[in-house]
């Protein structure tokens, strides 16, 4: 039923295919990329070459193939997006469900904390907390160094859960008063059982939607950080989509359009696709439309 | 003979749905005379509300309306929007089931009634508000002057419905259509509202069409009854005849399923209402009728006189004889 509704959103179906192709392409990167991530296309002069036979999307400032780097970059960004989104959603579900269900002090605290962080411009919170997290000595072995991929995933997860928690909390609050919850309680079900067996499964829709939007948010945030030079800097020329997009800025004035257009286009396609999927998911799981005739 | 206020002939309403055309109203004939209270009874899906929404021109664009609806000599089907707007609220008005959602939550009560007045009469704001307060008094709202400055959510259900009635009769319309006005209210309040409607009717000489699924409500206040099923009128009779000598098996079924003192078991009507996307051929009640014959499925039965009533059952006389 919900699947049918999802499938009726043509843009979303196309997006699923696009993302699937992208993911496969990227997963098979040793085969699909033409050069190594740090490998020059040819002997100098090899920098800022326009798209051509041996460099499909042109080269960057030190002669590396943009096409290959794009593949590797997207892989890194997708990994960051996926992992941080999953962690955010798991954390957010737990905290949100408990906050909504139990209410009281815990709920108040959670709401205040999320309000506080949401009061600041997102980028500001991101940058400041990045520094704060990075300067806590005893965390470093666990979450890695400031410029590592692991750190970024943790950073996004630490902020991502708030949005998800609010959504789940809202769902739980709405469901809490429904009769089937009262019935479950009347039969003596424990609170944890109710959360696990009734509340969470009924919130799958919004949770899935939150998941997709978390992924997009993480990918775009990674690009934003990289834009300002605060992104993941795994050495050896390793790159991310964010870094490539960030480099676009300085490629504009001299007119090296391929360095700007292709990374930006990739980012937009990914963002659009995931957004379409998320939107279709939201429509497909909208309880108001779930009337079996 | 009293003057005829509303004449409906062969009214048909079809909705264009994603699943295909849905014939909600399939040829309704109806008359309403001046000052009388007529009931239109039927279950959900019978087309009773849709018929009158169509008459008012309040259906969405997906609906196609055909046939004839003549109000005081003016044809309403296919009329220009401007003409319809001048009729609505002035010659003909409608009140709906849920008074809370029927009133705009952000406007004061007095202002909402004034709006009705000033839409069709040239009055100053002050005069309109004063008249609104009068109307509130007529429908029995205490301290009308103060209450006119309040918002809908500050009223109880019964009070709100009174406000809605006040708004509807503001311009002394010739016809008031009350679409399930008591369904959303407590039983005790229901009686009050019906009483208000009767009072208003007497004072302004308004004809009232009472749409409901509740025969008990009908018995209190109506003079004539139209019973609708699956988009058509299947019985038309005076109030006493309908209860004493129903001429259509559906009406019989409705009466039999009413809780009554002394009756131990309720007798429901078997089966389900028909799917209006694919209505059955011939008489739509056939699948659920204990008196059905093959002839019943041949063609859509028309209303025929049976005694003082009109019945759309081709076996009406036999049905009545068996009772």
């Amino acid at each position: 039923m919900a699947f049918n509704r999802f499938v009726s959103h043509k843009a979303a179906v196309v997006s699923v295919f696009v993302m699937a192709i992208l993911v496969i392409f990227v997963a098979l990167s040793p085969f699909t990329a033409r050069y190594g991530v740090n490998e020059a296309v040819q002997a100098p002069p090899n920098y800022f070459l326009t798209p051509r036979a041996n460099a499909w999307l042109g080269t960057d400032d030190i002669g590396r193939d943009l096409y290959s780097r794009l593949i590797y970059g997207v892989r890194v960004s997708l990994v960051i997006g996926l992992f941080s989104a999953v962690i955010s959603v798991v954390l957010g579900c737990l905290i949100g469900a408990v906050a909504g269900f139990r209410g009281g002090r815990f709920d108040d605290v959670v709401m205040r904390v999320t309000d506080l962080f949401l009061a600041f411009p997102f980028l500001v919170t991101l940058l400041v907390m990045r520094n704060v997290l990075g300067s806590i000595e005893w965390l470093r072995p666990i979450i890695g160094d400031l410029s590592s991929v692991r750190f970024i995933i943790v950073l996004f997860a630490v902020f991502g859960w708030m949005g998800v928690a609010r959504i789940v909390r809202g769902q739980v609050l709405a469901l809490k008063e429904r009769e089937f919850i009262e019935a479950a309680r009347a039969v003596g079900a424990s609170r944890w059982y109710i959360v696990r067996r009734h509340l969470l499964p009924n919130s799958i829709g919004p949770i899935m939607v939150a998941l997709t939007f978390s992924v997009v948010s993480a990918i775009i945030s990674e690009a934003t950080l990289a834009f300002f030079g605060y992104g993941p800097q795994a050495g050896d020329g390793a790159t991310s989509l964010g870094i490539l997009v960030g480099a676009a800025k300085s490629a504009v004035n001299p007119g090296f359009w391929w360095l700007a257009v292709f990374p930006c286009l990739t980012l937009v396609v990914i963002a659009l696709s995931i957004n379409f999927i998320g939107d279709a998911l939201r429509d497909a799981t909208d309880p108001r439309l779930q009337r079996d005739s | 003979m009293k003057e005829k206020v509303l004449e409906v002939r062969d009214l048909r309403v079809t909705f264009n749905t994603p699943l295909g055309p849905l014939a909600a109203v399939r040829g309704v004939d109806l008359d309403v005379y001046g000052g009388e209270m007529v009931a239109v009874v039927g279950e959900s899906g019978s087309g009773k509300s849709v018929s009158f929404l169509a008459a008012m021109g309040l259906l969405p664009r997906t609906a196609t309306v055909e046939g004839s609806v003549v109000l005081q000599g003016e044809q309403l089907v296919g009329a220009a929007p401007k003409k319809l707007r001048s009729v609505r609220g002035r010659l003909m008005s409608m009140i709906f089931q849920d008074p809370l959602s029927a009133l705009n939550p952000v406007h004061k009560i007095g202002a909402q009634i004034s709006e009705m007045l000033r839409a069709h009469q040239s009055m100053s704001e002050k005069a309109a508000l004063a008249r609104a307060v009068d109307l509130l008094e007529i429908v029995g709202i205490p301290q009308p002057g103060d209450r006119a400055q309040q918002y809908p959510h500050e009223f109880s259900g019964g009070m709100r419905q009174r406000v809605v009635i006040a708004m509807a009769i503001a311009n002394s319309p010739k016809l008031l259509i009350a679409d399930e006005p008591t369904t959303a209210l407590d039983v005790t309040v229901q009686a009050q509202i019906l009483e208000v409607i009767q009072r208003v009717q007497a004072q302004f000489g308004t004809a009232v069409v009472l749409i409901t699924h509740d025969l008990g409500v009908v018995a209190r206040v109506c003079e004539r009854v139209n019973v609708m099923y699956a988009g058509r009128v299947v019985e038309r009779a005076n109030i006493m005849d309908v209860f004493d000598q129903p001429t259509h098996p559906y009406t019989r079924g409705l009466l039999a399923s009413l809780p009554q003192t002394g009756v131990e078991r309720l007798v429901p009507i078997n089966g389900f209402p028909p799917n209006m996307l694919k209505p059955p051929s011939g008489c739509a009640f056939r699948p659920r009728c204990t008196h059905a014959t093959d002839a019943c499925g041949a063609s859509l039965p028309e209303l025929q006189p049976v005694g003082d009533s009109m019945s759309a059952c081709i076996r009406a006389r036999e049905v009545m004889a068996k009772a």
């Binding site: 834009f227 504009v252 004035n253 359009w257 | 008005s93 409608m94 709906f96 939550p105 952000v106």
Partner: protein
């Protein structure tokens, strides 16, 4: 209502103190102000360093340090930037003014156009207009501002000048380098591209809000009642439909406008627009504590005030809401 406002304002003071305290802690741990100072002023004497520490309230004890900072801040005894001892307020004031200008311009355009498009789409849901507006809004939301900014820069600055010889819209700064004084026309010309980029996002978001809100309202029973009164369709739409549909939208707009002061960082950076965003990025990159704290205070203050404004406007517009 008045009591509520006064109570909120009274609460705002301790809230402000608490939040600025948290910010103080975060900035101290995150940017290491003393190390930054030493880095920028490599030849500073220990006396100067101590002076810096005192002026900024950077005591080893965070609480005492915070109150010292607070004391200086409230008496307008603001310490100067670590770079060249520049005064904070003039730079901050200019940055604030620039961002407010850009923000107001973009918000005004964005919200008005967005609302109109939303109404446009909602009047015929599912129709061609609706699909067009929805898709456009969707694309607008999915394209991050810096992508559109970069693409616009590419188009208008680089290629336009290549094709037409001169730049149509400047892509950097508020005035051309070296310009002094106030020139409205020149400023406006510089603001066109950044305003456009920001406005696109706003239009996308608000058209969706409005469409959604109006669709909800249009399917309400009171719309049918309004029509049954025989009033003009225009009156039905404006006095009944929009009047209700605007309620949630206005509330959100109040919050968004409050967030504008800190919300244009990326766009400002791309267009080298000297607003609050650029101010923050430079200060943060340098670890310039004396520049950062006042900036944060403005942000927090703006957020709190506009939150209050949003709540008040919601209650004012919707009589069902009772502010306790």
């Amino acid at each position: 209502m008045l009591r509520y406002v006064l109570r909120r304002l009274a609460w705002a003071v301790p809230t402000l103190l608490f939040i600025t305290f948290l910010v103080y802690i975060a900035l101290r741990t995150g940017t290491d102000p003393v190390a930054s100072y030493k880095r920028v002023n490599a030849r500073a004497t220990p006396a100067k360093i101590q002076q810096y520490i005192d002026a900024n309230g950077l005591d080893p004890n965070y609480v005492r340090g915070y109150f010292r900072w607070l004391g200086n801040f409230l008496t307008f005894d603001w310490p100067r930037s670590i770079k060249g001892s520049r005064e904070v307020w003039p730079a901050l004031k200019d940055a604030l003014a620039n961002t407010i200008r850009l923000g107001i311009a973009a918000s005004a355009v964005g919200i008005v156009v967005g609302l109109m498009l939303g109404v446009f789409a909602a009047l015929r849901p599912g129709g061609r207009r609706d699909v067009a507006v929805n898709t456009a809004a969707f694309v607008g939301i999915s394209v991050p501002p810096y992508v559109s900014a970069i693409l616009f820069q590419l188009l208008f600055a680089v290629y336009w000048s290549r094709w037409f010889g001169s730049t149509l819209f400047p892509t950097a700064g508020v005035y051309p380098p070296g310009h002094t004084g106030f020139d409205l026309a020149l400023m406006a010309k510089h603001m066109v591209l950044p305003t456009f980029v920001v406005a696109i996002q706003i239009i996308a978001v608000y058209s969706r809000y409005m469409r959604s809100s109006l669709l909800d309202v249009l399917s309400s029973e009171y719309m049918r009642t309004a029509r049954s009164k025989g009033i003009s369709e225009r009156r039905v739409l404006f006095k009944h439909g929009l009047r209700n549909a605007l309620i949630p939208v206005v509330t959100i707009a109040a919050l968004d406008v409050g967030a504008i002061v800190g919300g244009l960082i990326i766009t400002e950076n791309i267009f080298s627009y000297p607003g609050m965003g650029m101010y923050f990025l430079t200060a943060f990159g340098d670890g310039d504590f004396p520049l950062l704290m006042p900036w944060m205070v403005i942000i927090v203050f703006s957020t709190l005030m506009f939150n209050l404004l949003a709540d008040i406007s919601y209650a004012w517009l919707d009589p069902r809401i009772r502010l306790e």
